[in-house]
């Protein structure tokens, strides 16, 4: 049996093992892997997620048991210290000796720490391993305790440096990014896009210092600041160095392998080093005189080495390596592909920039206008996959290439269909999955939906950036095979939401069992039960108390279930207007039950940490002070946010508060396909952010402008103008019609924005239905809404007045005790649930 030793258990070292054992011809080999870190390989690309959840396991590429199951010996916490090429053996720091037939060098790189005076001081960290992160967390926790407003700087404004900046934010310290170059991400971005990114990052609280060369680190033993020039200093309490990487080639040098002038083991296109029994892959390999610091080329190298060893010598690395990247940095999309910086002799650039929305898009096009050569996207990279494919496959571009980045006026994308891609187009570059492989998986019957496509091709399991395209491809392929991509709600019903709505309305069903007995099969599930509950609520104005076992968890308990199984309670504060007495009452109730208290983004006070048993007690107290349920738990109207309006504001054109309260009280309690939020602004300064809501009003000369279909959710969208300069009465009339039309026809969990986007005929059609009553249903819609409005009842009051309903609210049926599993820890003089591990 032949022996392979893999030195290094990072992402690429792991990928080598994974690809190796997947080959049928690999059975004659025995693999031993050495990692100097204490744990098996993990996903370093998503390292910053560790700050959010501190779950090292979630980052694992594969658990230890995987290595065992595949016959691979994994030796961690043991560094390889010596290679003897003549005897084909290695030695470890624990002085153990192992022999090999093939040696795979996957030692990667280490962070480069520039030789700045004082860089050894306490409080200076590098950003590479989970252990580094743990060190930072401990130090930050100490700082947070000792010093309010402690600051941490990151040295280096590259990709990793900005990730580290997010880490600093997550650790609760004031973040500063210090970059030597005059722009951020100098390798990926041009100056203008870097400027846009800088503005965006500053808007979320990062302080960015460009063109700063650090002379020395200040402090007596531990860091207190950084000095750039004589009078140019920055006081900081912690520093994270992220100034680039250096290949870990010390082992290779010591055993005489050929290395590059600036480090890295020289390899040819078969990934062989100057010793034919030794391969180098990943960030240690110097290929084409370059170190590739991305995961995708590292994975390709692993594949080549596997195939070479197994005798498929025709598999080699391509001469050109695609360095395109797309990532989400601190919630900001950043992508660059192909040739991002355009030398003028090669073609023209088309640039779209909108600093108010932190948007920058640039594409580089050949002189003849026929080829896409590269580009940069900041702020919105949703078109990246398609642009990247066009670039990779040299596909035809529109006559006016600007259409590729300009928002399309007619709502239709300028791109062709995903099905136009050639079969060899690489859709998932992390796992090298082509369009052909995805289509084949479906056509052969191996996969029949997105989940099975992902599990059998592995597409989308790396960085995940290609997921939307994989979904589009899956849907389109299924459709091309004549398989209807059904929107039936679950296995229990062959109907969609709209069909069920009509059936329940016509037949007048009142219970879930009636509906499933007559039109479905089985017992129902967590998808169809709450959906039918919501439909019956919309049709009959029943509250969630009616049949509580079919309600989604939050509706069942009339509160929001939180991270540790306790609940948050949100009393309604219509329009955000609250008397001092009521505000005091909220404070006192929060104190009485020891609730974490926070003012939300939607002008409410949120009270967290209530146990099931406490909920009714808290509601009783709230109700006695005149509060009612805020329905923060339901797919229903959450808030109507208001600015202060003409009563107090010197710019106010109309009374936004009074009208906001009226609207909130009108639509409270109605249940819809998704949550609904409203906003009313007293003037065009838009302090209520009304255009970021499902419905929004802005006071203008001569009345209100009514906007619909906006939101600030996962895919933020501005609301669109439905009607101009209308009076209060007309606003209510149109809103009744609009909301009811949405509630009747939207898909489950579809927000107004997505519903509106998919309405055939778009905004014009919507105007015809709502304003011109083209379908002749306006009166019905108004009547239905009025019925719901008239039947409003506070669900909390209903529940606490009914002993039968109250049974729900105890943790145990056979004991008065509370959940003994709950653990709270302190945070800024309040409490929070113990973090998940």
């Amino acid at each position: 049996m032949k022996k392979i030793i893999v030195v290094g258990n990072g992402m690429v070292g792991y990928k080598f093992c994974e690809k190796f054992v997947a080959q049928d011809t690999s059975k004659d080999f025995e693999i031993t892997v050495f990692g100097e870190e204490p744990r098996p390989a993990y996903d370093r690309v998503h390292l910053s997620e560790y700050f959010e959840n501190q779950n090292a396991e979630a980052l694992e590429m594969a658990p230890r048991s995987w290595y065992k199951a595949n016959g691979i010996e994994l030796i961690t916490s043991e560094r390889v210290s010596d290679i003897n090429r003549a005897s084909k053996t290695i030695k470890t720091a624990k002085d153990r000796e192992f022999s090999y037939d093939y040696l795979i060098m996957a030692t990667g790189s280490s962070p480069f720490v520039p030789p700045i005076k004082g860089v050894e001081k306490e409080g200076v960290f590098v950003y590479r391993t989970i252990e580094d992160l743990e060190g930072m967390l401990a130090y930050a926790a100490k700082l947070n305790k000792e010093k309010p407003n402690a600051r941490a700087a990151v040295l280096g404004g590259g990709l990793l440096g900005l990730e580290a900046g997010k880490a600093v934010l997550d650790m609760g310290l004031e973040p500063h990014i210090v970059e030597f170059a005059p722009k951020l991400m100098p390798r990926q971005l041009d100056s203008r896009s870097s400027q846009v990114l800088k503005l965006k990052l500053e808007s979320i609280g990062l302080n960015i210092h460009l063109s700063k060369a650090t002379n020395q680190i200040l402090g007596d033993g531990k860091i207190t600041g950084m000095e750039f020039g004589e009078d140019d200093r920055l006081d900081v309490d912690m520093l994270i160095v992220s100034a680039g990487i250096r290949p870990r080639d010390e082992l290779a040098k010591a055993c005489g392998l050929e290395v590059g002038v600036r480090g890295g083991i020289v390899v040819d296109n078969t990934m062989k080093t100057s010793d034919k029994n030794i391969y180098a892959i990943g960030e240690i390999a110097l290929y084409n005189h370059m170190i590739y610091g991305l995961v995708a080329p590292g994975y390709d190298m692993a594949e080549v080495a596997v195939k070479q060893i197994l005798g498929e010598t025709n598999v080699v690395m391509p001469a050109d390596i695609d360095m395109s990247t797309k990532l989400k940095l601190i919630g900001v999309d950043v992508a660059s592909f192909g040739e991002p910086f355009m030398p003028a002799d090669k073609g023209h650039s088309i640039i779209f920039e909108n600093k108010t929305q932190y948007l920058y898009k640039r594409i580089n096009v050949s002189h003849d206008g026929k080829k896409l050569l590269g580009g940069i996207l900041v702020g919105d990279a949703s078109d990246y996959s398609m642009l990247h494919q066009i670039y990779l496959n040299g596909m035809k571009i529109p006559e006016d290439p600007a259409q590729l980045i300009l928002p399309a006026a007619d709502g239709n994308a300028a791109f062709g269909d995903v099905m136009d891609l050639p079969d060899e187009a690489q859709v998932c570059s992390c796992e090298s999955v082509t369009k052909g492989q995805i289509c084949e998986a479906i056509e052969s019957g191996e996969a029949n939906d997105l989940a099975s496509v992902v599990s059998c091709t592995k597409a989308g399991t790396g960085c995940g950036g290609c997921k939307p395209m994989v979904k589009d491809l899956t849907d389109a392929t299924l459709k091309s095979l004549g398989i209807e991509v059904k929107d039936s709600i679950c296995e229990h019903f062959d109907l969609n939401r709209q069909e069920l709505y009509d059936i329940i309305q016509v037949k007048g069903y009142r219970t879930f069992n009636e509906v499933i007995d007559n039109h479905g099969k089985g017992c129902g599930c967590e998808l169809c039960k709450p959906l039918i509950a919501s439909l019956m609520a919309t049709i009959h104005a029943d509250t969630a108390n009616k049949e509580y076992a079919i309600q989604d968890s939050n509706d069942r308990f009339l509160a929001n279930i939180q991270r540790n199984g306790t609940y948050s309670v949100v009393p309604r504060v219509p329009g955000g207007e609250i008397t001092p007495d009521k505000l005091i009452a909220l404070g006192e109730i929060a104190k009485k039950y020891d609730l974490y208290t926070k003012i939300t983004g939607g002008v409410r006070v949120d009270l967290f940490g209530a146990t099931l048993n406490q909920l009714p007690l808290i509601w009783k107290d709230l109700i006695s002070h005149g509060f009612e349920s805020g329905h923060a738990y339901g797919k229903s109207l959450r808030t109507v946010k208001t600015c202060v309006g003409s009563t107090w504001c010197r710019y106010g054109m109309d009374e936004s508060v009074s009208f906001g309260i009226e609207l909130e009280n009108r639509y409270r309690g109605i249940r819809a396909p998704h949550k609904i939020k409203g906003g009313v602004s007293g003037c065009i300064r838009e302090c209520a952010e009304a255009r970021g809501k499902d419905f929004g009003l802005i006071a203008v000369e001569g009345g209100w402008n009514l906007y619909v279909g906006g939101n600030g959710g996962a895919t933020p969208r501005h609301a669109e103008l439905l009607a101009e300069q209308i009076d209060n009465e007309t606003v209510i009339k149109y809103l009744d019609r609009y909301l009811m039309f949405y509630m009747r026809t939207a898909k489950p969990l579809q927000r107004t924005a997505a519903w509106q986007e998919r309405l055939e005929g778009g905004m014009e059609y919507l105007k015809e239905v709502i304003i011109d009553d083209k379908l002749g249903i306006a009166t019905d819609l108004e009547k239905e809404m009025q019925t719901l409005v008239n039947r409003f009842e506070c669900e909390w009051t209903q529940a606490i007045n009914n002993p039968e309903m109250m049974k729900r609210f105890s943790h145990f049926v056979n004991s008065k005790e509370e959940d003994d599993n709950l653990v709270f820890v302190p945070i800024r003089e309040q409490k929070m649930p113990e973090p998940w591990n």
Binding site: H492, F512, G524, C525, A549, D552, G565, L612, V813, N814
Partner: protein, 125 residues
């Protein structure tokens, strides 16, 4: 946190040593669940009225170790009765505890019997 899980071991009807009288059948919602305390254990008990059956399992969801399964919604997956955790909708078979939408370890299930309108849960300890 994982040590919480060690308390819960699936029990087969032939291994039952104690039939614990939990509560009256009327204390459980129709087609829903509630939580029962037994010694230091929390057990979720479900009244599957639609098919006239009762099921019991550990109350702790193995995904994030929260005591919430009794508050989950019940239903069936191709005929297999199941519960969906209210936190992240992980679903588990109530017949054998199997995780139906992923590869988490199975949860512990316990036998239930009804005598004279009372709900009994079977334990081996």
């Amino acid at each position: 946190m994982e040590e919480v899980l060690e308390k819960y071991n699936a029990t087969k009807i032939e291994d039952v040593k104690v039939w614990f009288k939990a509560a009256s059948v009327n204390d459980f919602p129709v087609d829903g669940g509630a939580c029962v305390k037994y010694k230091d254990k929390q057990i979720a008990v479900f009244n599957f009225a639609r098919i006239g059956k009762w099921y019991a399992c550990q109350n702790v969801c193995p995904h994030k170790m929260e005591m919430v399964l009794s508050r989950g919604m019940i239903g069936d997956d191709k005929g297999v009765p199941k519960v969906a955790c209210p936190l992240h909708k992980k679903t588990f078979s109530l017949e054998n505890g199997e995780n139906l939408n992923g590869d988490m370890d199975a949860i512990a299930t316990y036998p239930v019997k009804i005598e004279e309108e009372n709900v009994y849960i079977g334990f081996s300890d």
